[in-house]
Symmetry: C2
Subunit: 257 residues, 2 copies
Amino acid sequence: MTHVIAIVSQKGGVGKTTTAINLGASLAVAEKRTLILDIDPQGNATSGLGVRDGGSRPTVYDALIGNSSLEEAIIPEVHFRHLDVVPSNRDLVGAEIELVSAEKRESVLQNALSAIQSSYDFVLVDCPPSLGLLTLNTLTAANSVLIPIQCEFYALEGLSQLLNTVRLVQRGLNPGLGIEGVLLTMFDRRLNLSRQVAAEAREYFGPKVYSAAIPRNVRLAEAPSFGQPIVLYDAASSGAQAYLALAQEVIERANGI
Amino acid sequence: MTHVIAIVSQKGGVGKTTTAINLGASLAVAEKRTLILDIDPQGNATSGLGVRDGGSRPTVYDALIGNSSLEEAIIPEVHFRHLDVVPSNRDLVGAEIELVSAEKRESVLQNALSAIQSSYDFVLVDCPPSLGLLTLNTLTAANSVLIPIQCEFYALEGLSQLLNTVRLVQRGLNPGLGIEGVLLTMFDRRLNLSRQVAAEAREYFGPKVYSAAIPRNVRLAEAPSFGQPIVLYDAASSGAQAYLALAQEVIERANGI
Ligand SMILES: Nc1ncnc2c1ncn2[C@@H]1O[C@H](COP(=O)(O)OP(=O)(O)OP(=O)(O)O)[C@@H](O)[C@H]1O
Ligand SMILES: Nc1ncnc2c1ncn2[C@@H]1O[C@H](COP(=O)(O)OP(=O)(O)OP(=O)(O)O)[C@@H](O)[C@H]1O
Ligand SMILES: [Mg+2]
Ligand SMILES: [Mg+2]
């Protein structure tokens, strides 16, 4: 069974892209067939993986608008044999307004993905920092959500809005949508604020919180400027170790389902 | 003359809200009549200033949809005599889709603001991390933009998309829109990455970059959980000092115009 995981938070800068890239790469290292789909108009997962804007090749925008299939947009074997990528590009900026008048506007991605998802063990979708139509499409297409929580005040505060949206989608468009897990990011155990937010998240979400917490590690912020996932850029770093441990937990949870 | 400044970046987590709150508070401390308008559905500037969701009081959403005027949504004297706030709330989440079919959908905020802006020296608008209709409305209503740049790879990469959008608005909806300034945020002089990004930003933007760079300072991340601007929470902190210096620069530039 293919696990389609939406990496979602309307709070900006919490580590959605960093998680999509590095969890994706770590799953590929563990020989899981993995697809990273970048549905954020910023295209950070695309550039962070070193994928240049493809010129004439179709992107996720073309698949959403119906100009091409998702299959045609896939770039195979990016850094690893088991890692494929569907890149984003700036055309997506206009997609939300264009999709508003489309028929079944929330299910466009679900339909596009259904044709290709069975060739993967995991599909990770990197969402933009909003609860607009691109994120709604992803929540409709996914089996579960992975919620990164930066260990700071605003990230915790935004959770109720996000959970409301997830519940709305569960009640209507996608009753099978579950919470895959909650990931603590940029955790700095020297800071009170970090420890407090982590404690609150564990109290609220219990076992849904992964035991792997991602530490604040500058190597994670350096890696995208080289177009590499952390496991290639600096495999010994605390960031790489944390994402490899996370991948193991994600695989264990997938096997346990 | 009133300076309406849009604090904009589609990159998430770069310090838009932290700048709106703390530049706003620092301008009020300098006896400038200041309004902070929160047009982000997340409502972080609202909660970071300690403003509770007002129940029956109108918000910026009601003013955009036409149910009330902005004047009715103003909360006067928040922490300081010269600081007023127009709060956001979760209704804004649906505003972008609702505005799509409105007449002159990009100028709704401009019309609403024109009725009240003359009572202020500075109006700071905190935008969501996107280039959708709420941000377009702000760019149309503003005289200038303040662009926070987090000293990391993705924040620099996103600039060309943002500048494209600013240019589009300058050519059409708001020919008078200028760039107020570029603010380096979360700057850590111990990190190569930070110094490299700062150098690139200064090369690209020259004198537009404020000499005040905001250092990474955990006190800035702690203050919102107490609902206080940094100048009240910890006036001696490096974060407070940097925002007070920034306010001086903003005032000097305003006088020089
Ligand atoms: N654990 C970490 N330690 C240090 N830096 C990190 C870590 N995780 C992410 N970063 C850096 O923090 C910034 C924000 O992370 P990222 O861009 O992944 O967040 P995001 O949620 O995808 O942002 P957006 O909301 O804009 O999509 C980036 O510059 C990234 O390199
Ligand atoms: N100079 C700084 N030093 C340390 N922490 C900071 C600094 N500036 C902001 N922060 C913290 O970093 C996080 C992101 O900042 P903030 O929320 O202001 O960014 P934003 O651009 O408004 O995010 P969004 O895109 O979600 O609106 C917050 O938790 C904030 O408290
Ligand atoms: Mg991202
Ligand atoms: Mg903000």
